[in-house]
Symmetry: C2
Subunit: 203 residues, 2 copies
């Protein structure tokens, strides 16, 4: 029995998981689970992950893994995608927490409301807040990426995978990456690395 | 020159940092930095941490560390507060990301609005959302803590430090922990461990 990934195809958080599994040579079965349609809040799914979120991974011994950042780290351990403990690893951790607290809640949420739920007009106040805070997150990334090829000095790591997950589709949330040229060049650099397949865009 | 912590005394995120430093025997100097008064958005502070947040740590060689979760992991590495890589460490990581994405944005934010900014009536819609989502986070914790002494099977770890940071003061945000008896008992258990000093409450 292979690894099972409960994931939603449009989700950058789920894309992180399929990407690290491919990069580290793990076979997996993907079970499409549409969180926008309530499929992560069913009693069956909540029994698997009480927090009701994708991605959720089931290993071949039945062990369940949750939280995209933790799953990235789990499979990257011992690979070139995660530096050894010490300052180099701490730099990766800073970006992983930055992504979940200061980036994803604005850039991913704007994209979902605007392009997938199609509720931009109905939720314009929330979208405006996402634009403001998301721009701040992109500013922080630009300060680093204007002068460096990757987010940390360790070459491409799970930090870059985590941040490019939603940055690559930021325009679907109304962000124009031309304003952040270092970020845009970095995203392009990441998405042509061997083994990385870009997130599909809305039809 | 010792470690410098830029922190805000009422902040659970900053409490995590002083707690792990004490538990791992690191001396430090605390520089009080009131984010509610804009002290993390000054040009001087943004030069230190472009994301404009506390805690921010400066090591004795001038290295700057950000993100409370990353700082916890940095100082816990090699100590009993962080298990070795593998499933035990992954379980810690799951809770650290859960805290920053599904717990802190509701439980810490409700507390700040209600007790520190004193804007509950003015922001009642946001507070109500915090109550709903914060209760969901406490439900997820209760499922584990009703039957286990700590969040992971590795004994008390940085996961427990991260989650107790704001849970211990949840009542300042309007949560009644009597509804989550496993969580309440766990918080009491954490706060009497040697070297742990509870977060001060509002005067």
């Amino acid at each position: 029995m292979a690894i099972i990934v409960y994931g939603f195809g449009m989700s950058g958080n789920c894309w992180k998981v399929s990407t690290i599994l491919r990069l580290t040579g793990h076979a997996f079965t993907w079970i499409e689970t549409d969180s926008n349609a309530g499929r992560t809040r069913t009693p069956e799914f909540l029994a698997l992950n009480p927090n009701g979120k994708v991605p959720t991974v089931v290993l071949d011994d039945g062990t369940v893994l949750t939280e995209s950042g933790a799953i990235l780290l789990h499979f990257a351990e011992g690979s070139p995608w995660l530096p050894a403990p010490g300052l180099a690893r701490t730099r990766v951790m800073e970006w992983l927490f930055f992504e979940q607290y200061s980036h994803e809640p604005y850039i991913a949420v704007a994209r979902n409301i605007v392009t997938y739920l199609r509720r931009k007009d109905a939720e314009i106040e929330r979208v405006r807040q996402c634009w403001e805070r998301g721009a701040q997150a992109l500013d922080v990334m630009e300060r680093r990426l204007a002068a460096h090829p990757f987010l940390t000095d360790a070459g491409p790591t799970v930090a870059d995978i985590a941040l490019v997950a939603y940055t690559q589709a930021a325009e679907e949330g109304g962000f124009d990456l031309a304003k952040w040229p270092g970020v845009r060049a970095w995203a392009a650099r990441m998405l042509v690395l061997p083994g990385i397949t870009p997130l599909p865009r809305a039809a």
